[in-house]
Symmetry: D3
Subunit: 298 residues, 6 copies
Amino acid sequence: MDKNMKQYLDKAEVLIEALPYIQKFNRKVIVVKYGGSAMVDENLKKRVIEDVTLLKLVGFKPIIVHGGGKEISRWVSKVGMEPKFINGLRVTDEPTMELAEMVLGKVNKELVQMVESLGVRAIGLSGKDGGLLNVTKKYSNGEDIGYVGEIQKVNADILWDLLDKDFLPIVCPIGLDDSFHTYNINADDAACAIARAMNAEKLAFLTDIEGVYKDPNDPATLISELQISEAKEFIEKGYIGGGMLPKLNNCIDAIENGVSRVHILDGRIPHCLLLEIFTNKGIGTAILKDGDEMYSNK
Amino acid sequence: MDKNMKQYLDKAEVLIEALPYIQKFNRKVIVVKYGGSAMVDENLKKRVIEDVTLLKLVGFKPIIVHGGGKEISRWVSKVGMEPKFINGLRVTDEPTMELAEMVLGKVNKELVQMVESLGVRAIGLSGKDGGLLNVTKKYSNGEDIGYVGEIQKVNADILWDLLDKDFLPIVCPIGLDDSFHTYNINADDAACAIARAMNAEKLAFLTDIEGVYKDPNDPATLISELQISEAKEFIEKGYIGGGMLPKLNNCIDAIENGVSRVHILDGRIPHCLLLEIFTNKGIGTAILKDGDEMYSNK
Amino acid sequence: MDKNMKQYLDKAEVLIEALPYIQKFNRKVIVVKYGGSAMVDENLKKRVIEDVTLLKLVGFKPIIVHGGGKEISRWVSKVGMEPKFINGLRVTDEPTMELAEMVLGKVNKELVQMVESLGVRAIGLSGKDGGLLNVTKKYSNGEDIGYVGEIQKVNADILWDLLDKDFLPIVCPIGLDDSFHTYNINADDAACAIARAMNAEKLAFLTDIEGVYKDPNDPATLISELQISEAKEFIEKGYIGGGMLPKLNNCIDAIENGVSRVHILDGRIPHCLLLEIFTNKGIGTAILKDGDEMYSNK
Amino acid sequence: MDKNMKQYLDKAEVLIEALPYIQKFNRKVIVVKYGGSAMVDENLKKRVIEDVTLLKLVGFKPIIVHGGGKEISRWVSKVGMEPKFINGLRVTDEPTMELAEMVLGKVNKELVQMVESLGVRAIGLSGKDGGLLNVTKKYSNGEDIGYVGEIQKVNADILWDLLDKDFLPIVCPIGLDDSFHTYNINADDAACAIARAMNAEKLAFLTDIEGVYKDPNDPATLISELQISEAKEFIEKGYIGGGMLPKLNNCIDAIENGVSRVHILDGRIPHCLLLEIFTNKGIGTAILKDGDEMYSNK
Amino acid sequence: MDKNMKQYLDKAEVLIEALPYIQKFNRKVIVVKYGGSAMVDENLKKRVIEDVTLLKLVGFKPIIVHGGGKEISRWVSKVGMEPKFINGLRVTDEPTMELAEMVLGKVNKELVQMVESLGVRAIGLSGKDGGLLNVTKKYSNGEDIGYVGEIQKVNADILWDLLDKDFLPIVCPIGLDDSFHTYNINADDAACAIARAMNAEKLAFLTDIEGVYKDPNDPATLISELQISEAKEFIEKGYIGGGMLPKLNNCIDAIENGVSRVHILDGRIPHCLLLEIFTNKGIGTAILKDGDEMYSNK
Amino acid sequence: MDKNMKQYLDKAEVLIEALPYIQKFNRKVIVVKYGGSAMVDENLKKRVIEDVTLLKLVGFKPIIVHGGGKEISRWVSKVGMEPKFINGLRVTDEPTMELAEMVLGKVNKELVQMVESLGVRAIGLSGKDGGLLNVTKKYSNGEDIGYVGEIQKVNADILWDLLDKDFLPIVCPIGLDDSFHTYNINADDAACAIARAMNAEKLAFLTDIEGVYKDPNDPATLISELQISEAKEFIEKGYIGGGMLPKLNNCIDAIENGVSRVHILDGRIPHCLLLEIFTNKGIGTAILKDGDEMYSNK
């Protein structure tokens, strides 16, 4: 067999190896929180969209939830707005909210465009469409930080109806309160709430870290599997800090409310989503139910 | 009968008068091009949204297509961008396109929000979602005026699927070309193309004029009905000028391609849509097929 | 604005006011017991049919149940039959039953015809069709009063199937017992049983009185809302007499078995149905669950 | 084998013989014009209803169209109405029309009741329900004979919708004109129009004669098969007279408009319908397309 | 009436007598275990297939489960294989299994062919198709008797899907274990497991005996009805022996798990299935729930 | 990046490369004629089944048509039957037909079993099931060669119904004539007829040769693309001989009757199907419409 042929056969084998995974996740909902470097680096961006599109084409039901943090900051400067802060937190006043919505809308349609260019039917939503995300005002230690919303209800029917018509929904985290005012929502929170409401099989966070560490200062302590009782213990013991704390709380919340598996993936690795789903290569940290094992019924 | 009761009975009679119209347009597609003053004045805005929502609730299938002209100009200034012109036409270069898309997206979701607040399921789309609007680059007398698109194909399936799931679609006129670049589209053109693709029963333009005049300088020459052969004659004779010319060409195009009736309505009159549909009060100018009469089979 | 225009705008406002009600009762079943003067006066008749047809067209699911008392009496005389009485009650012997069925059938198709003339698909049923109403013989204080039936079972599937095919069902109160003999049924009883079996949102009785009075001799004591515990108390205290007693018992029974709201309307007021549903004008007496308030979630 | 067993086996064989016919008419529409003696004699009545019910249960789609001639005459006398005649034809004035509708309605529900008692879901319709039969006034040699209608349009959707919900439709020949006035229709005409509109597989007339004779005075000339060109020839030659002439014209009309086979059956023979469909016993006269043979593809 | 006519009318009466049974079993699942003489005698074979095909055509949902015992033995000899025995039981080693599968497949398609020739859509399955029958290895008193399977799970979806597409499923008793090895299954066991999984209305065993006897040596003690507590008592008392014991246990198991009625029929009587279902002639023994009576609600 | 990680990323890239192909063949029917070495070598067998199962899982609609030549020969010897020949062709007499059907049935269920073991719902059919393949007797130069059938009609509904229920159909080439006798069919013919009847996107023959050669004696003359006019020219010029001639005629026939692309693949190359569909590696010979190019719209 010539070397060329060998290469082709290797490719065929890779496809065949994907077979049990394709079968396992057939028609399952997979929520992908898309953010961080993977949203800034054009190359990584393309990889993520390819991954999600492939998931859709082989029969899964992926839903993308994205943020737009850095792009919002860029526009705030561009427009020359003066940021206000309370307790060190940026206040989302009316003009900031307006601009944030515009930027998130732009990012949203850009993702739609990328998915469409790969031949898959995408639809871009904010939490306003079909009343998808209903929120109440969120306070930070009792202080008013403006139009920041806490999700009260996800109108999952909207997403089921769109999945039913074979759309790939792409959601930006904007919501409405009962008086139909606009609120910004933390994208991790939105992804988690949507995964819960859809009883998702998987919720995957694309982040800028390798995963959860026992000791954040020691890369060698990266944890590949974490059952939720362990996760809670870690939090109690104060191992978990910074941005990871709310994220891990979201993970625990998701697992306790019907999501089967949550993953904190390193979005800086190209195709990290495919690697997680189609190979037995551990990418980042998987949060599991107590008693579950990662590769048992993966 | 006391006076109070009399008032109530009068109200009941108004509802009953609507009966034949509700029946006539049951399950029919009605495309509303929403623009002009009716999009600026908060009071008129509310009236238009109430009208369209009512149409939806009584069983019609309205689709809103909107522009965002004045708001785009406001943001262009705000951001401090320098406008370029060719042949007196604004050039849509990349930064302008990006900003226009952001503004249109904002306007789009604001309309979604208003419809949702009235209890109807809306969904905001640009022509990117589901590949709704496919365009090619449009030139102005052979000059490159940037990312201005001419619609080649409307993917009507997307709209049918959303109507099927009982959404009220709200569309902003952004499209993609075959290389998946973003283009701005004239909102009148988009409304007309969508009405054609959906074989709409009605296409209504909300404008800032009373209608078509035989002599634009003489308000007394307002025409309430215009069969398309007359419309063509008017154009040939040079009676029609300014912004009305392309609009009237759009009307003719729509009627010749399957739309039953086109209306140029005065969007400055509150509830002009309801008045046109539910009463025999002539509002603005109706463009008809040759041989049709306005109130014959309305 | 000229006076004419003002009038049109007022009309538009009336339609817009109906919006929240149209939304609230969308796809809800509303059973209308049609009888009394509203069935005799040609003008009132037309109003009732217009009202029900409008309810159908704007998306509700009305079902009409009608009697035919006066018309039956007219035909009994016409044919020269000799009425028999027991305990002062007319006995429905075989010839009377035969004639009653003929008259009710005639009235039934006449109503179908009126609805059809307004462009809505009606279908006239007796309780024989599809085995809709199953009865047993009813005795009056142990005395045999002939073919008078008490409903044992409503075959609600029949009505759901017809609603599913977008018919407006019009039912006359004739039923079959287990041996397939024909029985006459009190129309109020039939309406109540059907409303229960369909879990109707509303059951409205068109009557010839203004509503329930605390003191029937004092029109000023008309009650606009009555929670069922109050209704029971009134009955116990003997405030309620005559034909109102069984009607009120029917109302209580309906509310206790899944119907949300029951109304005793004055059928002599034109469009009383529309007024009740689309305005906040109290027409007649509403029977509510304990704790409910009339205009809270109307 | 004992004699008893022999009998049982013979019964099984009869069922097995029905197999090819059950298969052939599976899901086919069969219109039965029910009238004459078979509607008067209680014993024959029961047989007809059993037959049609069996056809329904084994998977055919029968539709009954019935008249009520003798019963109408009986009631005209009973009520003491004075018949008017023009050219020897009874005039259907308003009171006659009213009574006729009542009687037909009574007969209609009686048939519904008989079918229901055999466990099959029947629904009784007049041509008013769902706008089933649209008519214009029919004149007799230019003379006004009152409310006698000629069918212009059959709204077949109504029947398809009811068949779809597994009802056995039973239709009485009453129709509405464009002004929604009530008209009486000849039952043969109604059956023929319905069979045409439904593209029925079979149209069977239950009559009081054995079939078509070459020579009406000679029973030996009974014709068992008649191709339509022969039928036309017979008519031209004047062989056909009396009530048979319009019936035969109806048969020809049906065959020329999509009905596969028309039968003139002797309704005085019990189970004539079953015999015609499930055996090769010729009952009455079959009207065929030219070139068809009766038992070729039966 | 001539004698010929009399005969036809008798036939019609037989069909009419079938009416209540056709109605009773409409859309009900009936599992027929087909085996014994009825599978060997060409004449009886034809009768069984006619019976099942008729059941299908009149709206029941029959499923055939068949064995192939004698034909397997014939081929074992033909191929010259040496049978092995343990405890007097034939051992199903690999070559025997292979041959058994081939023979059962042949018998299966032969039955398909017979049903198809009667114009009904049949499909032949083994328990491999769609993973219909999942088994574990069965031991005989702890001894390994080869590839003999015990059913663990019936994938009823497969059969519902095929019934939904109007197929008549014909199943041969082959199954797969969790490692996807092939096993032979006792046909009685397979029929019983399928009847349970489908909540069949009836399970009928075609056997070579008249039924269950109180005293197997005295034909006069044939029992026509047996409630399951009696059946259990008979077994305890040792009245039941030989091949009847496992069969009766299967019957009890079926009744206790959702099957309404089980019949042990004498397959040597032509059309025994039709006789059992369409007449009140007791054929063989019916196993009933305690308290049920045979002809009460048959 | 460590070497391990590199490997994983390469795998992800392979999956991504498959994306356009997965999209292109989404919901398309692909008929695979399975035979030759690929059916004998256990290793190759596993590869083919993996390939087809993968095609099913990623959303294609594959149908397998298989032969069983060598296995039939093996059994003919085993049973000790004496082969008869006419014109050098084996005669399919009744005993041979019986045995062939048994062997094909065994092979068929073995393939079902393999597909099931990969978690996909398979169903094994012969042309008898649902009357799938209707044949007439085929003669060889006028000589009777026994039960060899020529396909007259493919009942494609059967396959559409099974695809609709998400089965992977596996068909063995047995058919019935109008008298319901069993016939053997050439598997290539069956695959071709099925591909035509289903308007398949692709028909792929797994063979034991590399493809079509211009000069069969010179491996260097392998043709990778052949437009049908060229194919016909090759045949006329006598370049094509042996078993390739009828195969190539089948290819031409398929292309001329609605199949988009036919492939003669070398079944001895593992995963040849995947390679053909998911890579741009030319495997074997593709037969195209005139004017088509292989990789233009692949």
